[in-house]
Chain length 239, copies 2
Amino acid sequence: MRLAYRGAPFHGWQCQPGAVTVQAVIEAALSTVIRKNTKIVGAGRTDTGVNARMMVAHFDTDEPLRDPSRLVRQLNALVGKDIAIEDIYEVEAGKHARFDATSRTYHYYAVTCKSPFFYPLSWKAPEGLDFAKMNEAAELLLQTSDFTSFAKLHTDVKTNICHVTKARWEQIAPDAWVFVITADRFLRNMVRAVVGTLVEVGRGKMTVEDFGRVIAKRNRCAAGTSMPGHALYLWEVTY
Amino acid sequence: MRLAYRGAPFHGWQCQPGAVTVQAVIEAALSTVIRKNTKIVGAGRTDTGVNARMMVAHFDTDEPLRDPSRLVRQLNALVGKDIAIEDIYEVEAGKHARFDATSRTYHYYAVTCKSPFFYPLSWKAPEGLDFAKMNEAAELLLQTSDFTSFAKLHTDVKTNICHVTKARWEQIAPDAWVFVITADRFLRNMVRAVVGTLVEVGRGKMTVEDFGRVIAKRNRCAAGTSMPGHALYLWEVTY
């Protein structure tokens, strides 16, 4: 299934006891509609407050998918306003939403003016951020493979190696910018730590060379603070 | 001053006892900053929940306006996230934000798919609305001068005559439409009643001819129900 969600009302994607998560809401709806307890597997895990314009998830069922658009409507009626199930389609047995994904793209939105309409959906950037300098620093990410400096400590992943194929701030309106980053995989908290460190460069508190040294240190404590999650969007997953 | 606001947190523009209104919040901030009780006059009055991308207001003061951008910053620090003061500039004595306005434009946003990000800012339209038919009906508004059928009952205005110069649904994305309406003046509740009646046409419950008959009746009870305010934006005021 392909879906979108607003992150603010949820404690992230992944099921956890005593918390409302996107996965838990969808599993409850799906289990109700197809009358069988069913788990779903997402292409990734988004943290508390993080949005998804496009998430992909799979589930296993013995029943053939006879009327996908009816199932979409039934699920949408149960999952609330903050989740939109957009499409459900059958795939070959053995296909996997997470392991078969070849790239993920995230967007981080920054608005440099006061905006009554977009503040819940974007980060209020200070005036005078140097986006050109941030883009110089962002280019270093394309030559990096070990992202330990931007990885959350004490997680259970086996490697911190990622291949970033795009990392760039783009101006989308006179007062609005988006940071677009694409990689084969992302570590937990990685985009928010990368953006937080780029912002240090944009503020002039760190040079582009400093940014390169942060990467080389392979130490999370060298990087800047993590950015708030409400401005981050899982934008696309490709297979 | 030129400003914008999100309508959801407010009981409309106009001051009223015991309610948080946009005018009251700005007057409190302005009176604090310039250290004198000061009233503001807006170009129009928006109802509870209605947004303004651009509102214009004036105020009288004996002090010359020495540092307008500083005043803008001071006010923005006091009025909260849901109001943005964008500009303040001196005008000739006698200029009036309401009486001198020559046209107002409103936007009404309709989204035809489930949208976790835009539902607080737009109306969830049913599938299959006939926008071409709605535009046929909307053209009749350009030949109308008496808008009694779309006026709130029991208000204190002296005339229901308005001159509408634009009234058209425009598609802005595969699943998103906006109704743009411009007139020299608007009656209270008028845009929401017009859109509500157009939607009856779009749903096939009323023909274009029926819509013409609603206008001719000059009776509010003939028109459709009023649309929700959260999708309505005062978009522009011209002088």
